[in-house]
Amino acid sequence: MRNPLIKRIPKELKSDWHKYIVIIIFMVMMIGVISGMYVGHDSMLDSIYKGRDELNLEDGSFEVKNKATDAFITDMSTGKMADVREYYIQKGINEAKEQGIDLPYDVVAEQVDKEWNKVVERYDLDNKDFAPAEIKIYENFYHDESEDFDKDGIEDATVRVFSSDSKIDMASFNEGRAPEKEDEIAIDRMHADNVGVKVGDTIKVGGEEFKVVGLLSYVNYLTLHKSNTDLMFDAFGFDVAMVTPEAFEGLKTRVHYSYAYKYVDTPADKAEKKTYAENLLKALITQTLVYDNEIDDYTPEYLRQGSNFAPSDIEKDSAGSAILCYILIAVIAFIFAITISNTIDKEASVIGTLRASGYSKKELVVHYMTMPVIVTIIGAIIGNALGYTVFKDIAVGLYYNSYSMPNCRVVFSEDAVVKTTVIPLILMFVINLIVIVKKLQLSPLKFLRHDLAKKKHSKARRLPNWSFIRRFRLRILFQNMPNYVVLAFGVIFIELMLCFAFGLPDSLYHYEKKAPDMMFSDYQYVLMNTKDDEGKLIKTAEKTAEKFSSKELLYPKEKTELFAGMGSGGDEGVTVYGIIPDSRYISFDKKLNEGEVYVSVSFKAKFGLKEGEKITLHEEYENKSYEFTIAGTIDYEGGIAVFMKNEDFNKIFDKKEDEFSGYFSDNEITDIEEKYIAAIITSEEVTKVTNQLEHSMGGAMNVFKYALIVMTAALIYLLAKIIIERNEQAISMAKILGFRNGEIGGLYILPTAIVVVICSLIGFGVGYYIMVWIFKLFMLSMDGYFAFYMSVPSMGLSILYLLIGYAFVSVIDFIRIKHIPMDVALKNVD
């Protein structure tokens, strides 16, 4: 025979449906959102990684000025260096021959060797570790054309056009199809989305009209980085497109002879990729030279922003919301536990009778545990179902808002199952089990006697000589203390989320506003090399320009369990600057000894560094590390940076005296050729990241704020319901005695109101500091740093929102009090 107590469960669900609906909706929302996030995240990454194989992503590419000859391609494919010395000797002999002079080989060789040694040194051509990296080369030519999508005759963007017959770095279609006719074009989905172009529209490319027949995502342009040195992508001003080979031939601008390659032997890891790429570069430099060509670009795939920026950004996705979910589930579990605890109080006689009749403690624990477990399972099932459908689409939509992603195929996410089903179930189970087991610990006799308090108050609490009503109210407050404790936790939790909802946009906005002040110079020019093609130092006439040296090193990060699995898990990138004496941009307020450095405030704040502390930075690929002592702080929040004297910099990193990395400048530098500039960093570049974040998350945050009002109301509703239910008999009795509904409301609602107001103030403080802490931990898992910030109006609003939520509940509470019948007090009195 099945335990007949099971029959109570559906009846209880039915009779208290509004309570369970609120809890289930709560859980469904939280579990759904988190599950959606993980599923979206995992599916998106899976699609990206699968796309790399299916769409034949390159291992790298190079661009040369003139179309490569077959011989060049053949020699380049071997990955071997060309014999440049021999090339120059033969060239010398031939040139002399043209002028009618017959020079002996040795003489020319001697002449060549004079210059040759310099070249060898510069390009490290005699490196003994050189091993040829054999490659397969594919043509991947393109045109950079003007795009005029509104056909007003003004160029709106640059569009990089590829031919549809390319066999490498192919595209997937989000909508429509590949072009089949000469006047058809398929353009990047993200760009189309941003500028409002749809399939069927006509746009002008290179002055010619094309009909857009497809929206695509190129596997090597998941983010629209025009140049690999751009810090941020530009999906408005840059586009990639595909046309038929015929249409490609018809384009008027110069063809960019870009060749993509794949290694014959796939490198095992990033370090090997680097070695391969370095060796291949040597082959490219020498082969280009002997074939009288010029290199315009060389980018190994592992350094390509277009294919790596998006997946590494997605990998960094926040587990913060999962933690919020667990806190919420814990709060719900406590609400459940308190509800059940009250039910046990109410059903003490029944429990006593059942125990006296022979029901075991275990059977009753199982009985009272059934409901929370069932509700969690229902929440988890519906939540996951929504997670895999609706919420996944929202999460994927967020990624689509930022990147040019391929179509997303849903994959089963183990992470989602663990984090949205297993953990909530365990949380709910454990919390309820502890409370219920503790509660049912009492003997049957105690239940029969309603003697449920563990400790008996030896004395009644004496109250000041206040009015009767005030004392009554205070008694109610004392009586419901355990409920108010849970309420306080709930309120702190909600305040924490409100701090998140208000604080995140505030922090971004604050960072953005402060960005110009964060730059120690308005412009930072990072050069490709210290010397130009002719071997002369690159100089500028700009008066405010000041040389600096810089180098990227890594600072070891402690792996934090809290955010395990997030981010690259790698160490923090640190920019080390060498600063010239009496710099106008960076000043050290004390004399620095060798090995002493200043650190940026962000670096100090992020890792809690102190002056006098030693830090060890290491190279990413080489087994070298450097130890520095922190001598002071530079008020620079723009990045994780270390500053030292240029003299020390050159010494420590083995640089020549005249070597440098670029210029700081307050004005734009116009007299350095663009080809020598690797990157220009302005405040705009710094805030592009926050702009992008704002663009992707701004809308979601507003929705989140309103959702929080509803959640506040729901949470307080559940807790206030417990308080009223617990006092049903007393309220009923008060009615019999002649108290009016208003008076009873004042007695039972006002204490809750006072508690809510006090808790919301305290909760805000606690929530704010927890958020600061979480944010710091979160930042630790990311590269870079910006502190959590909340404006005063936001602080006020985060409290106000909670109180608005409570105001709704008070009305419901009052209605609930009004509906308590008088006969409750007359029934079941032992």
Binding site: M1, K11, T353, S357, G358, K361, S443
Partner: protein, 235 residues
Amino acid sequence: MREDFLVIRDLKKSFGTGEARQEVLRGMNFSVKKGEFCVLLGPSGSGKSTLLNIIGGIDTPDSGFVSINGDKLKDMDEKQLTIYRRKHLGYVFQMYNLIPNLNVKENIEVGAYLSDNPLNVEEVLTTLGLQEHKYKYPNQLSGGQQQRVSIGRAVVKNPDILMCDEPTGALDYKTSKEILSLIEECNKKYGNTVIMVTHNEAIKNMSDHIIKLRDGVVRKDELNENKITAAELDW
């Protein structure tokens, strides 16, 4: 001659400490035979309910022992006591303690579930006159009807001992007599030993065995030679 089924020996129990210490049972001795209808009679504070709780294994004596069918309760741990209650006892309280969101039939099933050889629930419903109310919830029943359900829940287990703690304490005269008749009927029909605690002197007349308690000791332990039916009772 039937053997003693329930044996109480030198049972002592006190509550509180120091000056507030109150001896409720002060060395109680008696025994009950299987199938007997035994009434424990006494005024308030005589130790009736405490004694019943100790017999039921939900309270423990300070000294002395209770043995049922030769098994001493004091030798049992909590698990064994639970099994003992499950297998051998049925409880009827003054307050009915029914589960509010289970209907009449289901409340009786709560008892049947515990037993290895329960009685037929439908038959019990018929015996207790609850057939027409079996789908009603406790709050739709009168006090007497609720007590019938409570008896049904206890009897359906087919327990060796039916423990009744003031089962008519909250009922009017007519309903009380009905309830007593039902307990009598169950005793006859199913052969359970009935131990009923009451302060109503009149009820002793329907029992086989009368034990009068006062101040924690047995004042009188006698067999009732002139047993009458519950219907004949008057008070």
